[in-house]
């Protein structure tokens, strides 16, 4: 019989294949802190990834536009929606066309650093990832990305 290190949930969302040690950042990006019951697994063995993290979110069915926000730090994560103990939907993460209020612009002279407005980034290239600020038009590469 298969034993689980993280107990199964009856209703909610399971985010699997998160890169090792990034689980807490995923929770931060999705704004899940203090918003209900979470089970967090860090450093699990994975055939594909060596080590991985996993998050189980009880009684919350995250929509695609929400989970796509984590594409910057967990591009290969899988999303499992569980209802009444059954897997009802399984999906991959896809980069959104725009990252709205996810990333801080690295340009200190960008209007997003001066006025109280949402940041917006468009994808210029996916591999390697390059984004352009919708406002100041500065390009940022994956190594420079700072999550809000």
């Amino acid at each position: 019989m298969k034993t689980y290190k993280v107990y199964a949930i009856n209703d909610g969302t399971v985010i699997d294949h998160i890169p090792n040690t990034k689980a807490l950042k995923v929770i931060d990006i999705l704004g899940l802190e203090n918003k209900g019951i979470l089970t967090i697994g860090i450093g699990f063995s994975s055939q594909k990834m060596g080590k991985k993290d996993i998050i189980k979110i009880e009684n919350k069915f995250l929509k695609k536009e929400e989970t796509d926000k984590i594409s910057l730090i967990a591009p290969n994560a899988t999303i499992n929606i569980i209802k009444n103990g059954k897997l009802t939907e399984k999906r991959k993460i896809e980069p959104p066309a725009e990252y709205i209020n996810v990333i801080r612009c690295s340009n200190p002279n960008c209007i997003t650093a001066k006025e109280n407005i949402m940041t917006k980034f468009k994808i210029v290239k996916t591999s390697p990832l390059i984004l352009r600020c919708h406002y100041c038009e500065r390009l940022i590469s994956s190594g420079e990305i700072e999550i809000l």
């Binding site: 340009n107 002279n109 209007i111 997003t112 001066k114 006025e115 407005i117 406002y135 100041c136």
Partner: protein
């Protein structure tokens, strides 16, 4: 492209059809068409930082087409000094006019203004980012001398790293696959991402540190100012600035047909003696700011279709 009601913020929003439309309209205006077409229209110029050519040429452009102008230059006597946000200023002023021209030291300010304004916004420079009407007037000036932009061999000389004018013009010309030479010291060379983008668009881009490295006759040399503040070592600045100074002798070496352009203001990167040569286009270029800005105002206000 229908310009009516549209804001003009960045060269990246403009395609070749739009460039062609602006050039054609500016030419027709220069020939005397569309006189008085902006009668009863009001322009507000919001210049949060100083400007000579851009502000005055926008105001002249509006008045020559029969329109009126309100606005400020510098924020000393405005509510900005009381801490008013850009958002509040723009929402308010949009209710006083038909079109806004904005210059602001912060990058992205014009884009934000266009998103909250109920009237079209024209970007007259947002920090180091964009200044699209400068590119339009550069384009228009080139089009007056060269009927096919794809055939113009253009060299950019000077500070290619920080100069927004060069970045925008080179990007715009790459849409026409214009061959380009970037002539700059290593410290001030064109950003790699931009050179890559220009090549991806179909232009050839050659990089060299000095004019001797240009192995073909250029049709145009576009000169920009090398700014002292970019250098930590003043001796290094003097050395570099001296190497990139255009004189009559340099023009002679480049060939008597080469056109010399510059977005102005200049300091001493083009010797005064060059002004008297037929090759010097920079004041003509600055004067073209009027028909080009008339074209932009007329188009976004829907008075020219």
């Amino acid at each position: 492209m229908d310009f009516k009601g549209k804001s003009i913020i960045s060269i990246r929003d403009v395609d070749t059809d739009a460039f062609d439309m602006i050039i054609t309209t500016a030419r027709r205006i220069k020939e005397g068409e569309f006189a008085g077409c902006l009668k009863n229209k009001l322009l507000a110029t919001l210049f949060f930082e100083p400007s000579t050519r851009t502000r005055l040429s926008f105001e002249s452009a509006m008045r020559y087409l029969g329109g009126e102008v309100i606005g400020f230059s510098g924020t000393d006597y405005t509510s900005v000094k009381k801490g008013e946000t850009l958002t509040d200023t723009v929402i308010t002023v949009a209710g006083y006019c038909d079109v806004i021209v904005i210059r602001h030291p912060v990058e992205g300010a014009a884009r934000l203004a266009s998103e909250i304004s109920s009237v079209p916004v024209i970007n007259a420079g947002d920090g180091a980012n964009q200044h699209p009407t400068q590119t339009f007037l550069d384009f228009f000036t080139l089009s007056e001398f060269f009927p096919r932009l794809s055939d113009v061999r253009i060299g950019f000389l000077g500070d290619l790293k920080y100069g927004r004018t060069v970045h925008s013009l080179a990007y715009a010309l790459s849409l026409y696959k214009t061959p380009m030479w970037f002539i700059a010291p290593d410290l001030l060379k064109m950003p790699a991402f931009l050179t890559a983008e220009i090549k991806e668009n179909g232009s050839t881009a050659h990089e060299t540190e000095d004019l001797e490295g240009v192995n073909e006759k250029l049709d145009v040399l576009y000169v920009t100012r090398i700014q002292k503040e970019r250098f930590g070592d003043m001796q290094e600045y003097e050395r570099v600035a001296g190497c990139y100074r255009v004189t009559n002798k340099i023009v002679e070496t480049l060939g008597n047909k080469v056109k010399i352009m510059h977005p102005l203001p200049r300091v001493d990167e083009i010797a005064r003696e060059v002004d008297d040569l037929e090759n010097a286009l920079y004041f003509h270029q600055a004067h073209n700011g009027i028909p080009v800005r008339q074209a932009v105002l007329g188009l976004v206000l829907g008075a020219i279709r």
